[in-house]
């Protein structure tokens, strides 16, 4: 099918994915704070209220638990809700609903009721935002079987992954990097295409070292690897993890650097390191290095640039594994 492409940023790509899925399937509805009349605080849902009406683009009261809890009831009833939590730092009141119910409904009813819903939320630092507007606690959601965790790193993938997430039969936490929202533009086709969940992508091939990242960190990684013969993996889906792509690359390069914005302790990098150590240890030439945020409370804007892994820190991490 011939498709027109346009240069879009991530905000526009996500908006397009929502619009097209809502046009295709009347069971797709959006709910959240300020998603309707205002078009969302990041303008992700702009124009959708006018197109689809207030029964499908629902401005809810300011209450995260019922936004997600109601989405669970809607999903069980047969709709495909896309709930927006305004910032990842505000998702904690809804964690009870995600952990205690969304993740478990299929299992607890042996498939009679399911929860095909998406919870979209902006995450990460770097936009000089107030307290609790810069969190990246993706690892929490990876520790909850029954939930999938998806993190796009570019407009093209954001659209394709969101379409897959909306069509997925299980609950998906969809994390959108606030710093990437308007940072890059790329060709995004109009019309239907999907990027499958559970599959990582090789962004660039290389021989000496595998650098694994996702979402916000990918672009700094690409800058950092310029002087190296590095293979870069964008995980895109954290859970379920595409172990195959990782193992294949590790077996080739023998060196691994994992980069994420979240604090080191119990970050998703810990799971990746352990997975690689368990199944590909004998292929490693060097210790696995994690370049991550620090084990501190996410700082306010004056210190956030010291917190987020920089191109320099990533380079240092790569240099360290290259010494072996």
């Amino acid at each position: 099918m011939p498709q027109n492409s346009k240069k879009l940023n991530m905000v526009q790509a996500i908006n397009l994915a929502l619009k097209e899925e809502m046009q295709r399937d009347s069971s797709v509805v959006i709910l959240g704070e300020d998603v309707g009349r205002y078009g969302g605080v990041f303008r992700i849902t702009e124009g959708l209220l006018e197109l689809f009406g207030e029964e499908r683009v629902i401005d809810t009261p300011l209450a995260e638990s019922v936004i997600v809890g109601a989405a669970i009831g809607m999903a069980a009833y047969g709709l495909k809700p896309v709930a927006e939590i305004q910032f990842m730092g505000f998702i904690y009141p809804a964690i009870d609903q995600i952990f205690s119910h969304a993740s478990r409904i299929r299992n607890r009813t042996r498939g009679r009721f399911t929860c095909p819903m998406v919870v979209r939320t902006p995450y990460g630092a770097g936009i000089k935002a107030p307290d609790l507007h810069s969190e990246s606690t993706e690892a929490l959601f990876c520790h909850m079987p029954g939930v999938k965790v998806v993190v796009p790193s570019s407009p093209y993938n954001a659209k394709g992954l969101l379409i897959s997430s909306i069509r997925d039969p299980d609950p998906v936490i969809f994390l959108e990097s606030t710093r990437l929202y308007r940072l890059i533009k790329e060709d995004v086709p109009e019309g239907e295409y999907t990027v499958p969940l559970g599959r990582a992508r090789i962004v660039q091939e290389g021989k000496d070292v595998t650098v694994i990242a996702w979402g916000s960190m990918l672009h700094r990684v690409l800058q950092a690897v310029e002087e190296f013969n590095a293979e870069v993996i964008d995980l895109m889906t954290l859970n379920p993890l595409d172990e195959e792509t990782i193992f294949k690359s590790v077996k080739k390069t023998g060196r691994v650097v994992i980069v994420h914005e979240a604090p080191k302790t119990c970050g998703f990098g810990a799971e990746l390191s352990a997975t690689i150590a368990e199944d590909a240890m004998l292929y490693l030439k060097a210790p696995i290095i994690r370049v991550t945020g620090y084990d501190v409370v996410m700082p306010l804007p004056k210190l956030e640039d010291y917190y987020i892994p920089t191109v320099e820190r990533i380079k240092k991490g790569i240099e360290e594994v290259m010494r072996y």
Binding site: T60, G69, A76, Y77, G78, S100, R108, R110, F113
Partner: protein, 351 residues
């Protein structure tokens, strides 16, 4: 500018049957003789179920169980008004609701015996699995009601919880949303006076629980939860209102938990024998029996038949449940996601 009253409220309380089974005829709902007998049979069946469940637990044949003793009228009275096409979001103490809706009884034993397959609701019913975290089912009911309204389905949604549940944030968030969107949902609180060891007056300083609805912009009513006719009438009216676009209703069934919180509890540690004794006189089944006797619907012979039939049904269900084979360990993997993950497939090799 003077101070003035800009809003005030009244809370209705509905009683139809008194403790001796005398009915207020002006309020009695229109139920045929056979419907009244059916309600009596469901009350008896539910109590028999409860009794057997407690015995099975004591014998080590079943796990921890939350008794419904004393709350049968609140459960059967409300569920008798619900249609099969309606959606129900229960807490964990609504076995009488499941039984009234026609949920296979052996599956209830199966669930409480620790087999998740017991909560696989049959296709002709829409009963969500019982919710253990208190009050967290309220938002689900609200979401289902939003979906029903969007799809223009003529169904109502019913959500059950207890007095303890009214203290939870999800109660507030859910009620608030139901009011804002005028959703087709009926909230039923079985106020059984105790949340494990915490008495009703320590749960909230409100005089009634029903009045909480007022703050969310819809009607709340208190009914005698041991009066099956009153509970039925209030629920029927609320469901009709919901189906006809009239929005949500909150029904507080004022009842009493005659048993322990669960089989893992000992209520004698925190409440007096006298209090329990006083509620015995208000027994919901006895009250309907007296009413039926007065109206020529009850005889010793009928009682014997009802009890025998209930016992046989429950015995049969227990037998059926105990013959079910233990699930295969693969069963715990199979429903995490629609498809197994790469890692799960490897983990399953342990079995």
């Amino acid at each position: 500018m003077p101070e003035r009253i800009i809003e005030s409220f009244n809370i209705k309380r509905l009683d139809i049957l008194d403790d001796n089974g005398n009915a207020d005829e002006s309020l009695t709902p229109s139920l045929s003789d056979s419907e009244i007998k059916r309600i009596y049979e469901l009350l008896t069946l539910s109590r028999t179920f409860d009794h057997h469940a407690l015995s099975l637990q004591r014998e080590g044949r079943m796990g921890t169980y939350a008794s419904i003793l004393g709350q049968e009228a609140s459960q059967i009275g409300s569920a008798f008004a619900i249609k099969k096409s309606d959606w129900i979001f229960p807490s964990f103490r609504e076995m009488g609701v499941y039984i009234t809706m026609g949920y296979p009884v052996h599956m209830l034993f199966q669930y409480w015996s620790g087999d998740e397959r017991g909560m696989k609701c049959p296709d002709d019913l829409n009963i969500f699995p019982l919710a253990v975290p208190v009050g967290t089912q309220v938002p689900h009911a609200v979401g289902a009601a939003m979906a029903a309204k969007y799809k223009k389905d003529k169904v109502a949604v019913v959500c059950y919880f207890g007095d303890g549940g009214t203290s939870k944030g999800d109660f507030h968030e859910g009620f608030n949303m139901a009011g804002v969107f005028k959703l087709p949902v009926v909230f039923i609180c079985q106020n059984n006076q105790w949340a494990i060891s915490v008495p009703r007056e320590k749960q909230t300083a409100s005089k009634t629980l029903a009045q909480k609805a007022f703050a969310y912009g819809f009607e709340g009513i208190q009914v005698d939860g041991n009066d099956v006719l009153a509970v039925y009438k209030a629920t029927k009216e609320a469901l009709d209102k919901a189906r006809n676009g009239g929005g949500p209703t909150f029904i507080e069934c004022f009842t009493y938990r005659m048993g322990d919180h669960t089989t893992a509890d000992d209520a004698s540690r925190y409440r007096s024998k006298e209090e329990v004794e006083a509620w015995k006189a208000k027994d919901p089944i006895l009250r309907l029996k007296l009413f039926m006797e007065r109206n020529g619907l009850w005889t010793e012979q009928y009682q014997k038949e009802v009890e025998e039939k209930s016992r046989d049904m429950i015995d049969e269900a227990v037998k059926k449940e105990e013959a079910i084979e233990r699930p295969h360990p693969e069963d715990m993997f199979a429903y995490t996601y629609e498809s197994l993950t790469q890692r799960q497939i490897r983990e399953m090799r342990d079995f």
